[in-house]
């Protein structure tokens, strides 16, 4: 345990150092503040603008991109824990609850203290001070989560109502304060209205310093306490049994989420910031079962959608950034939802369809085998469509469709206008394998599990398609005599499967043609 912890710590610090160096190189040399992103976009074609944007020539673009990257990292990391702990809507409540804090932080910048008790408030001094807004917003967010907890503990109000109530009350107070601020006779209100839907272009140098610092803190804390967060998220009982302070970890996580929400406010806006927590993490959750991979994926998705949002707001400055980022993240989620390799809806549907087609093919091959077996014929001999239809108890049309499917897969060849079917060598091998699986399993059930011989067929009918090579080897080892199945029919063995095979084109009077 100790060594694992040490390696985790080591990994953590390595990552922190790397990120720190990156940020130092990118942020510090550039301290000049030029025009807003929108003002630089005078080139006309999309390509030129894209080149301009991704060459990071303009400091404002650089700020917007670094800001988006930072918020992608912090929201992606914490969003994973939010999603696996089923606290998505707690994140939503928290992100709405910070609004009065933002407004108060903004107002508080007008307070100047000349002595301990000698404070004065001057409207003209009000500016957008990122640190004050940060502190106010974090306090409001924490107060919001505290209110939710108190409501749940002291009344019969359920969690969902408590969340909605807190969200709405705090948000309404924030709205009142904001509308009051907008009527104040102060010259510098710029930026405060951008907190609603977000504007990456409004990110300034001070914001970037704050965002970078907070992101470092979040990354560092997550790496150092990774094990604790993991255990409390997935196994509360085990966490209690090894005496982890689950409550404190929960509160700490909420504080970190408040940090992440607040630094994302400027770019994404109060209303949609919860989506940057939930959506990238939920998309990652659909793609992997390992927490560390989920964290990496969520960070990647968060950063990608953040930068996309910043780019769109660079192209079209009158469109708020937040919704663009959120739609980017939603697009990623939609792709993961439909086409994720393991849990995607389309992928699972396609897997289901192809599996049932395979089962049907194998059943048809098995029926051909049985027709030949009953006739005591050689594998090179042909089976007529009619025989097959009788065996499968299906119509001629259905059977002819199945024969076509087998032909496409190279398992059979068709002759006499599709009325005669012949095995190809690979088709014969597959048919033998399936029949062998079926009969071995029947033998196993009767001999080893003591099930009556007339009860084993249905079970074997299911399992014959999924028995792998190693299970078959295991069965062969367990069963002494594998030549006859419980019903007395021969089990096709190695010699049958690899019979020298010379498919012959049947003559006009082939077997069983019109009998």
């Amino acid at each position: 345990m100790i060594t694992r912890r040490q390696t985790l710590d080591k990994q953590g610090w390595r990552a922190v150092h790397a990120l720190g160096l990156l940020a130092v190189f990118v942020v510090l040399p550039e301290s000049a503040w030029s025009a807003k992103i929108g003002d630089v976009a005078e080139e006309t074609s999309l390509g030129q603008q894209a080149i301009r944007f991704f060459s990071f020539r303009d400091p404002s673009v650089r700020y917007a991109v670094i800001g988006s990257v930072m918020l992608g990292i912090s929201c992606g990391l914490l969003g994973c824990f939010i999603v696996v702990r089923k606290m998505a809507l707690v994140g939503d409540t928290l992100s709405h609850a910070v609004l009065p804090g933002v407004a108060l932080g903004f107002l508080f910048s007008g307070v100047s203290a000349s002595g301990l008790f000698d404070w004065s408030f001057d409207v003209a001094n009000i500016t957008k001070n990122p640190s004050l807004i940060f502190c106010g917003a974090v306090v409001a967010g924490v107060a919001g989560t505290f209110l939710v907890n108190t409501l749940k503990q002291t009344t019969k109000i359920k969690e969902d109502s408590a969340l909605g109530l807190t969200l709405a009350s705090f948000f309404a107070v924030g709205i009142c304060l904001l509308t009051m601020i907008q009527d104040l006779p102060t010259g510098n209100k710029s930026g405060i209205d951008k907190f609603m839907f977000g504007q990456a272009a409004a990110i300034g140098e001070d914001d970037i310093r704050l965002m970078t610092g907070v992101t470092f803190l979040i990354v560092a804390v997550v790496f150092v306490f990774y094990k604790e967060l993991l255990v409390t998220s997935f196994d509360a009982g085990f966490a209690r049994s090894i005496a982890l302070p689950s409550q404190w970890i929960h509160h700490g996580l909420m504080l970190l989420v408040a940090f992440a929400v607040v630094i994302a406010l400027q770019a994404v806006g109060v209303v949609l910031v919860s989506a940057m927590l939930i959506t990238p993490a939920a998309a990652a959750y659909l793609l992997t079962d390992r927490m560390h991979r989920m964290l990496l994926l969520a960070v990647g998705f968060g950063v990608a959608s953040g930068v996309l949002g910043a780019f769109i707001s660079f192209l079209k400055p009158n469109i708020p950034t937040g919704p663009c980022m959120v739609l980017g993240a939603s697009a990623v989620f939609a792709v993961a939802f439909f086409a994720g390799p393991r849990y995607g809806v389309m992928t699972r549907w396609w897997r289901h369809v192809s599996r049932s087609k395979r089962v049907q093919r194998e059943n048809t091959l098995k029926a051909m085998f049985q027709v030949l077996e009953r006739r005591d014929a050689q594998p090179e001999e042909s089976v007529s469509l009619k025989e097959l239809a009788e065996r499968r108890r299906e119509t001629l049309d259905e059977v002819s469709g199945q024969a076509q499917a087998l032909k496409q897969h190279g398992l059979v060849t068709l002759h006499e206008e599709g009325n005669k079917i012949l095995f190809t060598p690979s088709g014969w091998q597959l048919a033998c394998t399936i029949v062998r699986n079926h009969r071995l399993w029947e033998l196993y059930l009767t001999n080893e599990a003591n099930i009556a011989a007339d009860h084993v067929h249905d079970d074997a009918e299911q399992i014959e398609h999924v028995l792998g090579d190693d299970v078959v080897r295991e069965l062969e080892r367990m069963l002494d005599d594998t030549t006859r199945d419980p019903h007395g029919r021969a089990i096709p063995g190695f010699a049958d499967i690899h019979k020298p095979f010379t498919p012959a084109v049947p003559g006009p009077s082939g077997y069983g043609g019109s009998s």
Partner: protein, 337 residues
């Protein structure tokens, strides 16, 4: 302090009436949301009617009532279906599904709004956030001046256009108030008619299926009604504050009484008090009326939380010594063992 109630009485009256109607309709349907633990689905729908509205406007080039309601209905039902789809068909849990659905739809709505030129119909970002309940009487002025409206008024027996021009504003309410009143009336009617169905499906799904009530139909009807209420409230209080109107009255009532009929009574009283108090607060502080209404409602909730006879904080503090070992103490002791 009494300024709003002495000057411009007509203006204030219409605003307060609108606020009351919005809060009452939301509060009544909100009671069922709270009982069914779907408060946050209400939150989701209140966000996602926005793209419905925006698309209805882009298609029809005006915000008439019918396309607006259809847009909202479609958006509301789509939200419920999407949440179900994501949470049934993948391993994403319901809370994340709600968060993803409403944020996506809301983002689409905001982008559509910033693309389209919708300032003319007050469909802009400001309206989404704050609502424009203060513009309700302005609506009236427009009705007064519009020649079309006047010609319509002429056809109503007992009215003529001169009555308006003479400033007799109380006689005809603004159209948005009429619309809201109709919606509130229909909500009340539906709740009265389907009282039993709503009650049974909310409390006991087993009993409801044995009585032959189709709970899916009840569910989607409730969601559809919710969308219509939300969209007619949208103009007044915006997309986000609606959630407060949905939950605050019902939550306050549930702290005070435990039976459904008196809960509805308290809901309506809460609506009236928060509308009146909110408008007063807004005039006094010079801030957003919709926000102030919610703040007033929250204050009412806080009072109920403090002084509720059955589960108030005050009773908990004072009554702790009286009940030797109440349930929670027992629970806490059990947990300690």
């Amino acid at each position: 302090m009494v300024e709003p109630w002495t000057e411009n009485l007509t203006t204030t009256f219409w605003i307060v009436l609108m606020g009351f109607l919005v809060t009452a309709a939301c509060g009544m349907i909100g009671n069922y949301l709270i009982l069914r633990r779907m408060a946050l689905v209400g939150d989701a729908i209140s966000h996602s009617v926005l793209p419905g509205l925006a698309i209805a406007f882009l298609l029809m080039h005006s915000l008439k009532t019918v396309p607006m309601f259809i847009g909202a209905l479609v958006a509301g039902i789509l939200t419920t279906v999407l949440i179900e789809l994501i949470h049934k068909k993948s391993r994403v849990k319901q809370d994340s599904a709600i968060g993803i659905t409403f944020s996506t739809l809301f983002a689409i709505g905001v982008i559509l709004i910033s693309f389209g030129q919708m300032e003319a119909v007050h469909l802009d970002a400001e309206c989404v956030l704050y609502g424009e309940i203060a513009l309700v009487p302005l609506d009236l002025v427009q009705t007064q001046l519009g020649p079309g409206a006047l010609s319509v008024v002429e056809k109503i027996p007992g009215l003529n256009s001169e009555m308006f021009l003479n400033g007799n504003l109380l006689t005809i309410p603004p159209p948005s108030v009429i619309r809201m009143a109709v919606v509130t009336g229909i909500t009340l009617l539906l709740i009265l008619v389907f009282y039993k169905e709503l009650l049974v499906t909310s409390f006991d799904s087993g009993l409801s299926s044995s009585l032959g009530i189709n709970s899916t139909v009840v569910h989607y009807t409730l969601m559809g009604m919710l969308s219509v209420i939300i969209v007619s409230a949208f103009e007044a209080v915006g997309a986000i504050l609606v959630i407060a109107m949905l939950i605050l009255p019902g939550a306050t009532a549930s702290l005070l009484v435990h039976r459904l009929p008196p809960m509805f009574g308290i809901t309506v009283i809460h609506a009236a008090l928060s509308a009146g108090g909110g408008i007063h607060l807004a005039t006094w502080l010079n801030c957003s009326p919709a926000g102030a209404m919610v703040v007033a409602g929250s204050v009412l909730f806080a009072l109920a939380w403090m002084f509720s006879p059955s589960q108030g904080l005050l009773r908990r503090w004072l009554g702790r010594e009286l009940d030797e070992l109440d349930e929670e103490e027992l629970e806490r002791l059990a947990r300690r063992i």
